[in-house]
């Protein structure tokens, strides 16, 4: 029997797709590279996920977990004909525990739906990727997603207490617990951010956070990008960790204002959106620290949102950024690198230089407080040679970030897009260590092969004793 026929026996006819059109749709995520699909399974329970995995293993077909498919690095794109296991039907929220400030959720729950669900209790789920109205908690776990408010609260991994997952053998295991410091190695922490290469997450115990009693949102305008980046360093150095610290440059401000009027100053070279949150008696003082740091760096305007309406308008502007670009250009390529915050000014200068040299249309909106850069290139892929040019510039920007002491990705993941750049960050012996860790979870290499680690990472050149043990030829 074919893979699809086998799957249909367990999942039912409608929950398995193998029509060429369906397979075409599931061959891509929100990144730029398509893959090849063998079949698509839409299980509704943990047991169905486990059954689908076992069937696929029996057929020797690689398994790729998929949430909403908004990933930008090709994490959900199969590198060889694979079974796409879509987890969006596992979308229940249950056991919201107000006292414990936790909830069990299915991986298919949309990020924002969870915070909406817990809002009446005065609680929210802190990680807020810009894609939060469409991306799933399972996908967020896959990439260890971040967002503006992860600066003070930490990324997804700090908000996931436990996961239930289906292993590469099709078994169900729970990692982590409601109790702190579960016994043994912290495998939960390894699975978060593993991009579907260690297991398929089917249930999640998340931590919820009380809504801050007081919030102050500021908009600071600058006549140079350097002055805005200097303000970021000055705020961090002053001992304030704001709830959010986001930077937008002029091209992005223009795009946003063309798309939706949010009152951003069009003459500014950059704006910084800062939010401080916490106890009413502290928030005002912290807002003043931010305002002062901005003024000292030469801010041309410091606006403190007077009311909830003005605050919402500032965030609407920030959150409209990607929509605004999609509205203005047929295609965009969104980068994600991270540098030490002390190197922000230098790195931004270098990134503009690269953009100018390649003659590309670049806009910036990013999590400045974490040093997490998101240069975004708007282009038209129908223009001959354009995609190549965009990719060449992207490559240079990543290399620059690494030279600045940074890393390949702050939140979108390595996936397919940056896999072959891993050798720029890690020595062969480091990649081998990562490959061994992955092998511990998936000895047959059946879960999302070809992601994160470049081919040949497990190179058997290291640790002589281990080679003798495994019988591999050194």
């Amino acid at each position: 029997m074919t893979l699809a026929a086998d799957l249909r026996q367990v999942l039912g006819t409608d929950q398995v797709l193998d029509h060429p059109l369906d397979m075409h749709i599931y061959a891509k995520d929100a990144g730029v590279t398509p893959g090849e699909v063998a079949a698509v399974a839409l299980p509704a329970t943990t047991q169905e996920v486990a059954a689908a995995v076992r069937i696929s293993v029996r057929h020797g077909v690689p398994i790729v977990a998929r949430g909403a498919g908004t990933g930008l690095s090709g994490g959900a794109v199969p590198t060889k004909p694979g079974l796409i296991v879509v987890l969006t039907r596992l979308n229940e929220i249950w056991d919201v525990d107000e006292a414990a400030q936790t909830a069990w959720v299915g991986p298919g729950v949309i990020n924002l739906d969870l915070s909406k669900h817990t809002k009446p209790l005065g609680l929210h789920y802190a990680p807020d990727p810009s894609s939060q109205s469409v991306s799933t908690i399972g996908g967020n776990i896959g990439t260890n997603a971040g967002g503006p408010h992860c600066l003070a609260e930490g990324t997804t991994v700090s908000h996931v207490l436990a996961v239930e997952m289906v292993t590469a053998e099709g078994e169900v295991v729970t990692l982590g617990s409601a109790a702190p410091d579960p016994l043994g190695l912290d495998l939960r922490g390894v699975v978060v951010g593993s991009e579907g290469t260690m297991g398929l997450v089917t249930k999640i115990l998340v931590r919820l956070i009380e809504n801050p009693p007081e919030v102050r949102t500021l908009l600071l305008a600058f006549d140079s990008i350097e002055a805005s980046a200097r303000t970021v360093s000055a705020v961090i150095a002053a001992g304030v960790v704001p709830a959010a610290l986001e930077l937008m440059d002029r091209p992005m401000i223009e795009a946003v204002e063309n798309f939706r009027t949010c009152g951003f100053p069009l003459e500014a070279a950059a704006v910084l959106i800062a939010e401080v949150a916490g106890h009413p008696a502290a928030v005002e003082a912290e807002a003043q620290v931010v305002a002062r740091a901005g003024a000292e760096a030469g801010a041309t305007e410091v606006r403190i949102a007077a009311d909830e309406l003005e605050r919402e308008l500032i965030w609407l502007g920030r959150k409209s950024a990607f929509g605004a670009v999609a509205y203005a250009a047929p295609d965009y390529y969104l980068h994600d690198t991270v540098v030490p915050r002390t190197r922000l000014v230098e790195t931004m200068t270098g990134i503009y230089e690269i953009g100018a040299r390649h003659g590309i249309n670049m806009l910036n909106v990013f999590h400045a407080g974490d040093g997490n850069l998101h240069p975004l290139v708007a282009f038209d892929s129908k223009e001959p040679g354009m995609l190549e040019k965009v990719k060449a510039a992207a490559h240079e920007m990543v290399i620059l970030s690494i030279e600045m002491g940074g890393a390949l990705s702050g939140e979108h993941g390595v996936g397919l897009e940056k896999r072959d750049l891993m050798t720029k960050v890690y020595a062969p012996i480091d990649l081998d260590a990562q490959a061994r860790l992955r092998e511990a979870f998936d000895p047959q290499g059946i879960l999302n092969p070809g992601k994160i680690l470049p081919e040949g990472s497990r190179c058997y050149d290291f640790g002589l004793v281990a080679n003798l043990e495994s019988g591999a030829t050194p």
Partner: protein, 366 residues
């Protein structure tokens, strides 16, 4: 034991280690790796040791080789404007924290630091009381350089505060109890120390409800104390809200002195119940971390039945009871192993294929 590359780094065994045990203090991570590679080839059991303050109860097979991290005690790089610190595993927590304090920063390691090393605390997965506000220590592990059980020197993570470049080995090393290798160097995320801090004595735990994001909410056999920090106005306003007189500074309770100690780890909502349990079981002293879920209790004498009782209750509620110290030789430190035992074994194997690093030290004999 055959001649070892370790001989030149040989030192006197520290207190608590048998005099004939080969004890070494290699001068670099590479040298540690050389010792571990040799130990793997020869099949010698290795025990890494920092300050020797979090070694857990005695018992099990004694090690053949003790690897001290004492020669690796330098601050490699501190970027105050980036709130990151690169430090070697053998550096003393007390020295590191007092250096950081000069710039009003902290790595938020545990409060009782007598003799503890940074690497030892990270390996032991100890987080300290302020985890209620700042999260567990593993959330601050950004990069790790480790000598693996079979003598490789590997680095993972990076010196940036947000990073998904590859698998999170830094976080995995936290709480690994030396079972994967020796943590030689790490990059930690720092926090600014708030301008003002105070301790508030409360009449009962109900008072905790009026506080916004305290540093810690502790209950001992004697007092209930909330620890808060922030701007001076915030600290004053919080104290007033719960009707307590703020004592400036953070007067943490002293460490437990009893020779027998059991740590209950339970869902945070069960701390009150755990406190009644340890009181009923005759604890001489205890430290309960409300909203965190950890209650450590000290006992004058050892009683296996008491451990069984507390453990039964904690495990029945999805938690654990860990023996921190015991006067008995044959105690089961952990209790029921996690359901992921098979994966736990395989992950250890990935770093320590010949099982020389403290074999059997992790739950379930891993």
């Amino acid at each position: 034991m055959t001649a070892s590359p370790a001989d030149e780094w040989r030192v006197e065994p520290p207190p608590g280690v048998a005099a004939e045990t080969l004890t070494v203090a290699p001068p670099s991570i590479e040298a540690i790796a050389e010792v571990l590679g040799w130990a793997s080839a020869e099949g010698h059991r290795v025990l890494p040791r920092g300050g020797g303050t979090h070694m857990g109860p005695a018992g099990g097979e004694p090690p053949d080789v003790v690897v001290m991290t004492s020669a690796l005690n330098q601050v490699v790089d501190w970027q105050p404007e980036d709130l990151t610190l690169v430090v070697e595993g053998g550096a003393l927590v007390s020295e590191i924290e007092s250096a950081l304090a000069e710039r009003r920063q902290s790595a938020v390691l545990a409060e009782h630091t007598a003799g503890s090393t940074v690497g030892g605390m990270i390996a032991a997965g100890v987080s300290g009381y302020r985890r209620l506000r700042y999260g567990p220590s593993r959330d601050r592990m950004l990069e790790v350089t480790m000598a693996t059980g079979d003598g490789r020197v590997i680095t993972a993570g990076g010196r940036v505060v947000k990073n998904v470049t590859g698998y999170d080995i830094p976080r995995l090393s936290c709480g690994s109890e030396g079972s994967l290798g020796v943590i030689g160097r790490m990059c930690l995320k720092l926090w600014p120390v708030p301008e003002s801090a105070a301790s508030l004595t409360l009449d009962d735990v109900a008072g905790f409800a009026g506080l916004y994001r305290p540093l810690a909410l502790l209950e001992t056999e004697l007092v209930i104390t909330a620890y808060i920090a922030g701007t001076p106005e915030e600290v004053a306003a919080q104290a007033e809200a719960v009707g307590a007189t703020p004592r400036p500074g953070l007067d943490w309770p002293g460490p437990l002195e009893e020779a027998n100690q059991i740590e209950l780890r339970v869902p945070p909502v069960l701390v009150e119940a755990a406190v009644s349990k340890v009181r009923d079981s005759g604890a001489a002293a205890f430290r309960a971390q409300h909203r965190v879920g950890i209650v450590t209790a000290g006992f004058g004498e050892w009683a296996a039945s008491r451990l069984d009782e507390l453990r039964g209750w904690a495990e029945g509620n999805g938690g654990a009871a860990v023996v921190v110290a015991a006067e008995s030789e044959s105690v089961d430190r952990w209790g029921a192993p996690p359901g992921s035992l098979d994966l736990q074994r395989r992950v250890k194997q990935a770093f320590d294929p010949l099982r020389v690093m403290v074999p059997g030290r992790l739950p379930g004999g891993v």
